[in-house]
């Protein structure tokens, strides 16, 4: 293990520069990756699905999908990878890095846009550039899926109301024959502009001891 560890350091350096993690964090993430894949080289869906912690999460399917989505790796097209390596793992996790405290306004906006894009991709499963009513309804249903007593009508009512609100806020007037396709990315950014995504969508990566690596 020692020899292969030292061989990885230059690899880590490249990845660290690309994603913005430090070497220390990269090492921890690598250990975690090894733990999840049980020392194999690639991560597959089953590895994540077998996690007990994740089992109770209502949106776990979408979270797992996000790791295997090529759009998050920088591709334009949506594709589903079957397995990912460490590089892709870290690339996805990099979306959750907290922004540095003193950065320029421009950079902050870019980071915010990237994170919102990640969120958008999670909702827009067919990659047509808009979140349609069905996709939105599925999101609401998944959120409510952890309770059993939810009627389908209420989920529909909520998603309808939400879509209507987005449409009203962003588009304004529409004629009766016009058709509102769905939430585009710009509209998505607009309705979520009040939530400070760049700080809210962040996870601490610095804590070394709390990473359970099974060692």
């Amino acid at each position: 293990m020692g020899a292969s560890q030292s061989g990885r350091v230059p690899e880590f350096q490249d990845l660290a520069d690309k994603t913005g993690f430090s070497i220390e964090q990269m090492k921890n993430l690598h250990n975690r990756f090894m733990y999840l894949t049980q020392d194999e080289d690639t991560l597959r869906r089953e590895h994540l699905e077998n996690m007990t912690d994740l089992a109770l999460n209502p949106i776990r399917r979408q979270i797992i999908e996000a790791f295997f989505d090529t759009r998050n790796m920088g591709e334009k097209e949506k594709g589903c990878l079957q397995e990912i390596g460490f590089e892709e793992f870290v690339t996805v996790l990099a979306f959750f890095k907290p922004p540095k405290p003193h950065i320029a306004e421009e950079e902050r906006k870019t980071i915010k846009k990237e994170k919102l894009r990640f969120l958008f991709n999670m909702h827009d499963t067919d990659n047509d550039g808009v979140i349609t009513l069905d996709e939105y309804k599925r999101v609401v249903e998944e959120l409510l899926s952890s309770t059993e007593t939810i009627g389908a009508e209420t989920a529909k009512a909520i998603s309808d109301a939400a879509m209507l609100e987005v449409a009203s806020e962003t588009v304004g007037r529409m004629g009766p024959d016009e058709f509102y396709e769905g939430i585009t990315f710009e509209q998505f950014m607009q309705i979520l502009k009040d939530i400070e995504i760049e700080t809210k969508m962040s996870v601490h990566f610095w804590n070394l001891e709390t990473m359970h690596c099974g060692k």
Partner: protein, 761 residues
Amino acid sequence: MEMKMFIVVLGLLVGSLMPIGGAASSPDTRGEGNHSSYIKKPFPVLSFDYDHVRLPFEISLWVLLASLMKLGFHLIPRLSSIVPESCLLIVVGLLVGGLIKVVGEVPPTLQSNIFFLYLLPPIILDAGYFLPIRPFTENLGTILMFAVVGTLWNAFFVGSLLYGVCQLEGVDLKHVDLLSCLLFGTIISAVDPVAVLAVFEEIHINELLHILVFGESLLNDAVTVVLYHLFEEYSSVGTITVTDVFLGIVCFLVVSLGGIVVGAIYGILAAFTSRFTSHTRVIEPLFVFVYSYMAYLSAEVFHLSGIMALIACGAVTRPYVEANISHKSHTTIKYFLKMWSSVSDTLIFIFLGVSTVAGPHRWNWTFVIMTVLLSLVARVLGVIGLTFVINKFRIVKLTCKDQFIVAYGGLRGAIAFSLVYLLDPVQFPMRNMFLTAIITVIFFTVFVQGMTIRPLVDLLAVKKKQETKRSINEEIHTQFLDHLLTGIEDICGHYGHHHWKDKLNRFNKKYIKKCLIAGERSKEPQLIAFYHKMEMKQAIELVESGGGSKLPSAMPSTISMQNIQPKKTPQDRALPQLSKSREEEIRKILRTNLQRTRQRLRSYNRHTLVADPFEDGWSDVLIKRKKIIEMEKKISQMNNHLTVPAPPPDSPTVARARLSSDPQVWGTKAVTESIPTIKVDLASPQSPDPVNEFGSKASQPKESKEDGGLMMKAPCPAKEKKEKDKMAYEDDDDKEPQRLTRCLSDPGPAAEEDEDEPFLP
């Protein structure tokens, strides 16, 4: 004109306060005189017996004075924007105290007993009940650091440096020993929640800073209590050993955690009690108040931190009680709490002013000035130092501006004053000097810092509070984000903030909610509860704004659900009998009719009396909604139907009404069914247009009959149709199925006529 009247009333009030002081001090011998003489006097028609109402009368007069003061400040337009209310109230107190003294009476002082038992609890309960839980827990670490470490630092810094100053030559303060100084330092270092609330509420800074300063002022009570008792106990002895320090730390943990536990217990009791109050709604608010007050008193019995108990009780009670109590009780609780805390707050500041005039003073230039300076310096240093450490652990770092506001917002107030007042003058001969110094510091912080903080906030362009309306989208995405972050944390194996919060929520949902929330609401997921709450709020706004024509939130959009549904390609709609042109005709006619309808509807809405539809009617509405849904299911199963296209764009309210209550109308059912459905509008004033199956009559649609667009609207609690729905359903509940069949098969003028009556006032 108003001002003159106001001043006259004020003069009368103050004038009546003075003889009260006189009556209090002069001994009363009237009673004895009557008993000793046996001469028969004429029956007293009118007598004056003030004594037996003296106490409540005085209290009422003071409360009245306080409230009139509050009124008065807002009559003077520019004053309230420059000077914060607390300053004005202290000035009024000074004036009143001065007046009383001039007359020759002894002005009343702020008794510590009254302050701690009666004046302080309402303010703290108000703060605790409406504590914004989310930002509070997110910043809990920071708040605790400021409260505990910051207060300790302040106390020791000020105390020891003051002691050093007292030991200097030339200053006549050798008799002030170290422990007394430390005690003084403790008292003066505690940031006061009353003053902070009073000033910060007017400047509307952003949530983060508000919760930081305010949370600190609440949580430092435990530290203050422990240190105060520690130093007070041992100042007579003169020394403190290591054991004492150690015991002090243990005591701190006991005091703070004990206070929270006591509060939580009472809170759970209150929540549990509220589960059974569905039949006695009137006393629901009382439970909340009494349980909370008892939590405070119980904590005070054991010298635990009463403030923390009260906060814990309020915060624990709120989510469960709100799910159980009626809407009116909720409003009652809110308004009573605000009212009491407002009156308390006003009284406290007025009494501070009066006590300043009354209290025995001993002015010592050095001591006082050094106190003011040192407390300022200590605060600034403390904040800077602590922020430096805290920023290493925070995602959202505190900037310099934030630090400045936090330091500048550390106001002292009446708690410090009362604590000094409690000191025993025999044990602490320098009590008067302490009193003077404390009053000076309080005046300095409230006047100077309170008045200048608002222009400074504007000058530094500190972020202000955003008046965001919580939209359903934000709620959905916030929840989504929570789950997402929990998931990511789990994948990383990092048991962080989100992980524990998620676990707590799950535990809460599984066990606690079942016990404490009555009936079905216990299973309601948060999203639905939020959605219902939002609908209610919109409905109330709509009703208050006088009907549907003018919306409180200006939304000029004309988007309806129709725009959002995917367009059906012509193949999906199998129109067996109607030709395209016929369809167009029908569509056009319906559209024009509907527009006319809507104009009529709007003009009636303004004057339609709304019998309070929200009076515990929520469950009824839900039941009715379910009934309508079932009925719609029945209708959609009927095969011989004709489709009618969507009506032209509604006002957003009507549109939202439709979509929020139409489970079947716009759904995918319309796509899957090969033969489209007809829908009957029960709520429109007009009869449904007798468009029959297979379009036999469709060719001659009756232009005079304004149909309500043949849309069946399930009762929508939120929008303008609500009152009509209520009226409709109250009248025609049983007639609904019949009416439907009648419309479909046998439309007749008679049917249309009597439908007109109930709806049009």
